[in-house]
Amino acid sequence: MTAVPTEEELGKLVGTPFPGGTFTFEPWWVRLVNDCALAPASDGAASPVFAFLAATAAMGWSWEEMWGLFGATEADGPMAGETATEIREPLRVGATYGVSGRIVSAVRKRGARTGVFDLVCYRLDLQDEHGSLAASCTNSIIFPRRSL
């Protein structure tokens, strides 16, 4: 999809599954992320931030593909709204997790200052090697709709 979806088309995207994939917390990658985050190497992959990073890395779409689903590009300036992560079991360095998820809501809104925008919410889950839910993250994206 390249054109801005109508409200009806937007609603039909709710429930769309991500292709999904797997993510392995390789020690060198975890170490460099912690270095960038000014976090101690001893934290390993325990920070909830790793759930978001792994889930979005293995969701099966690039960000541009995700924007494209909603008729947008990077140049349209999609913005992060909120992020919520829940850890059921600490994520482990060296472990591989399955990633799956879906679009959970998509609504068009009009703000006095912001103009028209679409608020899209998606959820991604990380399952451990036994298929148990290890972590989940639910995030929202704001798509400005300057043409509407």
Partner: protein, 135 residues
């Protein structure tokens, strides 16, 4: 003993590094040039300094909680709203307040309001966290 109303020790983050943003872009395979190309930031009218990645900003709040609670593995839930950008060279402060202490399936936990703000400036992240406390 942790109690509602307790202030979490503030964590002062060293000025944000453009070099670390470049590395993070590669680690995330994030092609958005606002994290490594000042010209792209200028083109958006956001100034001359590259923009820090959201996950790094989140990580500073986790570090604040981890220092207080005894490790990042104690942070079990985190809900944050993005309020603004952090630019290269910005100093930051992360902090929070305990709002409730309760027992859940994992043990005794503290619910907290948390925030990250540019030093002397506005909040760039705010939200809530749930942290295991060993009491």
């Amino acid at each position: 003993m942790t109690a509602p109303g307790d202030e979490l020790p503030a964590y002062e983050v060293e000025p944000v590094s453009a070099e670390k943003m470049k590395t993070m872009s590669a680690l995330m395979r994030d092609a958005n040039p606002i994290h490594f190309d000042p010209a792209a930031v200028r083109a958006l009218g956001l100034g001359d300094r590259v923009v820090n990645q959201g996950p790094l900003n989140q990580a500073y709040i986790v570090s604040m909680l981890a220092r207080w609670a005894g490790g990042a593995a104690r942070v079990r839930a985190l809900r944050l709203r993005f309020l603004g950008n952090v630019f290269a060279g910005d100093g930051l402060v992360a902090g929070g307040t305990v709002t409730a202490v309760r027992q859940d399936g994992a043990g005794r936990v503290a619910d907290c309001d948390v925030w990250l703000r540019v030093s002397g400036g506005d909040p760039v992240l705010s939200g809530t966290a749930t942290v295991l406390i060993g009491e």
